[in-house]
Subunit: 182 residues, 2 copies
DNA sequence: CAGGAGCGTTTAGGATATTGAACACATGAG
DNA sequence: CTCATGTGTTCAATATCCTAAACGCTCCTG
């Protein structure tokens, strides 16, 4: 097992899409410490490392068990996608929540009448996708369009956005967001 | 998972029958540090903890995975004893090498002519046992006796000792040593 | 362009881990 | 008994970690 604590921490932090300051705040340490640890310029005490990992959260044992060298899998059979229940919107994540990646690929299923909620969504990064089946109403930055099979979208996620399936048939979308929100 | 690093380290160290100084020497740290860590008066840096565990040796992941609260198993079917090959002397350890215990119980089998070697054995602690089957010649501190089924022995392991099966049938012994040598 | 907000990095100084040497206690040998 | 050797613990000094604040950078907005 490589004891590159810095690389491990950086990998874990990025897996969760957190900035050094964000993680530091959750963990109750300073962003500087996170930086120094990730550069291996200090070897953190067990207690600080635990505090940091509690901010993720992740257990110390899991942290040291992580295999950074393993090649990520390439093929994901349907049954190996990670199901993320979200009411009447079915989300299947490609690659699992813990996989190290800079992007989240989702296979989304909107039941008739399903939507992403009253509140407009806003978060970091960018997202895009293609409608595979059915029709979906997409609102981004005040602009609303209805997309059909074959149509696509792409926008900065900081723009308020919402998905609604107003039709009578299920809508199926394949999307990607970076950095990964899930 | 309880993060009582001190208790964990003490447990691990004692599992291996090491003193603080012994472990410190192997690990390249001072005995004082081991003492302070075990009392939880300091939270060691990951690098020091790794150095310490390298002296055992044990991986960091295993260290944090250790479950100190689990009740040790009580019953050990024959096939669950840990086989310790030692030439023509068969040793079966009760409870596994990593189990936390202050004593090693062994089920020993001496083939005809088998012995514990030319050199007299000397080590820390005490040991005792009962001959279950066959006959064995036991030398302890210059005194030699031949024990038969039903006979027993007990001595301080610092006394030079040796076991030899001079008979034509296998000899079977159940023994205990504390602290555990294995 | 300036300004602001985000990012990771660096630095000085206070807090903490670690060392080296001493301590107190127990055991076995002479 | 004394001495030697083992154990774990403690303490002052030093090395290292950790914080708070600043820095440089990029990206976005006006």
């Amino acid at each position: 097992m490589s004891l590159d604590v810095g690389a491990r921490l950086r990998a874990v932090r990025q897996m969760y899409g957190l900035s050094q300051r964000e993680l530091a705040k959750r963990a109750g340490v300073t962003n500087g410490l996170i930086s120094l640890i990730e550069q291996n310029r200090v070897s953190p005490s067990v207690s600080s490392l635990k505090k940091v990992l509690d901010g993720v959260p992740m257990a110390l044992a899991d942290f040291f068990t992580l295999d950074l060298t393993q090649k990520p899998p390439v093929f994901f059979p349907r049954e190996e996608l990670t199901e993320i229940g979200a009411g009447r919107v079915g989300l299947r994540l490609v690659g699992g929540r813990l996989a190290k990646r800079s992007m989240a690929i989702l296979h989304e299923h909107y039941e008739p009448g399903a939507d992403t909620g009253e509140e407009m969504l806003t978060h970091e990064g960018e997202e895009g996708g293609v409608v595979v089946r059915g029709r979906i109403e997409l609102t981004v930055g005040g602009e609303t369009r209805t997309l059909s099979a074959g149509d696509a979208y792409y926008f900065r996620s900081s723009l308020p956005h919402r998905f609604r399936n107003l039709s009578r048939e299920e809508c199926e979308i394949v999307s990607a967001s970076a950095p990964p929100t899930f």
